[in-house]
Each structure stands twice: as C-alpha cells, then as structure tokens.
Symmetry: C2
Subunit: 191 residues, 2 copies
DNA sequence: GAATCCATGTAATTGGTTACATGATTCA
DNA sequence: TGAATCATGTAACCAATTACATGGATTC
C-alpha cells in the first residue's frame, strides 16, 4: 500500500498525530513533546501535517488565548478522524523502517580493534540503562496513578502501558546482547 | 553531528554500502540484495550513492563482462574507504530512527474492538515467526560452514553472526510481548 | 545576562520511495 | 507464455532534517 492508496493520503506520522489528539486535545507544541520518546518529529513536519489533517476534516482546531504565554491552537480529533484511525487499524501495516548508526558501525566492527568496539558497546549500554530506568519509572507512575485503567483495553492508558512494557522488554533484550558481545570480545586482546 | 559535518558528507546508507563492499566486492545489484534483510534500500538510492563513494575515492569499480547476462560493475573498498569506516566507528552514533505502522496502530488500539487488535497482533506473530525461523536457519548455516570464524572478532563473519543473534533475540522478545498482550486482551469479550 | 520554556510557522536541503526505461536468460 | 533473475540507471515525488524567523515569561 502506497501513501496515495491510503484514505486521505495519510502517512505514518499523520496517523500518529491523529492518535495523539484522539487521546487528548493538544497544541502543535505539545504534540511534538508528546511524540519525542515514541516517534520523534520536528515542528517543521508536525505543523504542516496538522494543517493537512484539519483541511481533511479529521481534526478540528480551537484558538486558545493565554496570558503571559503565546496564544495557541488546540487540536482534537473529529468523529471522521476517529473513524479514519479505526479503519486504518484494519489494514495491513507496512514493513517497519529503521536506520541505526550503532548497528551499521557494529557491522564493520571487524575492521576496528576489539577495544574500539568495546567503547562503542559500552556507550550503547549507558544509553540503554538510561532509557530502561526512564521507562521503569514511567510504568511505575502510570500504574500507581491509574491502576484500574491498566486492565481496560477500551482505555488508551492500557495501550500506553503495554507499549511502554514492550519498549522495556526490547531494550532489556538489547542490553543482554551487548553484554554477550562484550563477553565474546573479552577473549581477544588488543595487540 | 549533521551529514555535512561527517567526513565526505556520508550518511548511514553510504557507510552501510561501504561496509558491504569492504567485506566482499559486489555489484550494485548484489548490494541491494545484500542489504534487503538488514538495512533495505532501493536501486534508485544505491546507484547514486555508489557514484558518490567512487568520486570520493572510497570505493573503486571494475567492469566485468559476462556471457548470457548483462555486464556489471564490481565495487570494492579502497584503503581510504576502509579508513573512513574505521574513523566513523570512533564517533558518536546518532540516535536511531524508526517508523513502524504496527506500533502506531497499537497506540490507537483502544479505539478498535479487542477482536480487531487480536487480528493485528496475530498477523504480527506470523511475521515474527517467519523471521525467527529464517534467522535461526541463517545462523545454523553460518556456524556449520565457518565454525572457527565465529570466535574471531577480526573476521566479518563474527559480526554477521553477532548481529543475526541480536535480531533473533529482539524478535523473540517482541514475540513474548505479543503473547502477553493477547493474554491481557483475552479477559475482554467483544460486545 | 544567558538559557530555557512556551508557541507557530516557512525555506532549503537531504533522504527515501515509486515509477519509468531497457533487455537477455532461465525456469515453471 | 508469463514470471523471475540479472543488471544499471533516471525522474518525479514524498518524508524528514536543518536552518531561519519571531518574541514574551521564567528561571538560573
């Protein structure tokens, strides 16, 4: 399925933004911050996408005047927007795309010394540990504040929790792999 | 670090291609096939990138005439190309980028019925199982054919094996998560 | 006084996909 | 006879990043 085959020609980012404003109404600025950890996008991509969604009638904007801060537009999903999301969920997801410098570096790790690769992997473990700690505290906070919603698949927090757990599990698996690589590298000395 | 900060202005794809032809000399067509499972790219992106690498002196091309097939250009890394890769491995990798329709759909799964989400997750498990079986057979073949290279961090097959194992571990973790989500969903009936 | 937060956007460039163009050989 | 494999490229378009532009309020 190509972008132009999809209803309204929406891409992954558009559906992600639509999903965000269906959970809770938000400004463009808030959407960018919300996306940061899960599916990062810059303002230069988010604002035009919001305009597109609005002219397609999938979101509606309300002007909110503020004191001491710039005014903002708060976007929420329309009924048509909700329905477009539900319809999309019923279609085949495209193959995921990813680009990872760390893995591309590992790919050619045999050219460098084991010590250089160790440094690279150590750095990765540090970043993974930070992410793991963050996700664990996010999960703890979520289940403490909204315990009953964690069991209700009709509530968005059920899926927020589920996706946080998924990222945590994947990060932990990546961490185990890093350690196993360091172990295999430990047999080799650097001269 | 932006693309223009990097030496020669190479991006992730350029370094990946450089890594491929440093392992073994290959044609553009072969490179595309080689990349398929690990870091997919189309011919329309690979051929121009090869030209760029060649004019930067990081790869060299040899014309090979063939009988019964179109002639081809076989690319290999130059010494400068090897060194550019090693230098890059010593720099900080940029944050990985990824885009995943399946996860974006799950994000808004609360809007759909539990049954619709089940179908989505079932499909994901099928795809994961196929990938897991493929990786397991790739790994088995690799260790059977080149057992001694599996322990040598100075050989590229050591890292091929390591990266295959990583993908396998991550896919298995994803699979476990899928099953746990199906289990949590099984409490909910569809009306 | 400098940095960060809030807030919305546009312009230029790079990265990636789809579609087009060509043509022989092999396999079902 | 039709599809797949081998083989190299270009043109048009869509997706994403970087840089630019503005400006008040708060925090260090």
């Amino acid at each position: 399925m190509t972008a132009t085959d999809r209803p309204f020609g929406l891409n992954n980012l558009a559906y992600q933004i639509l999903g965000v404003v269906t959970r809770l109404p938000r400004s463009g600025y808030d959407i960018v911050k919300q996306l940061e950890h899960f599916r990062p996008a810059k303002t230069s991509q988010v604002y035009p996408t919001l305009s597109k969604l609005e002219s397609a009638g999938l979101v509606s904007a309300e002007d909110v005047e503020q004191l001491g801060r710039p005014n903002k537009k708060v976007y929420s999903a329309t009924e048509a927007g909700r329905q477009a999301l539900i319809d999309w969920i019923g279609t085949e997801p495209e193959a995921p795309y990813s680009r990872d410098d760390f893995l591309t570096m590992i790919y050619s790790g045999w050219l460098a010394s084991p010590d250089e690769v160790r440094v690279l992997v150590d750095g990765k473990i540090v970043r993974l540990d930070r992410q793991i700690a963050q996700m664990q505290s996010d999960i703890a906070r979520l289940v403490a504040l909204h315990p009953q919603e964690m069991h209700d698949p009709g509530h968005w927090r059920f899926y927020r929790n589920s996706l946080l757990n998924r990222r945590l599990m994947v990060a932990q698996a990546e961490r185990v792999w890093c350690l196993s690589l360091l172990y295999q590298l430990s047999g080799a000395t650097d001269d």
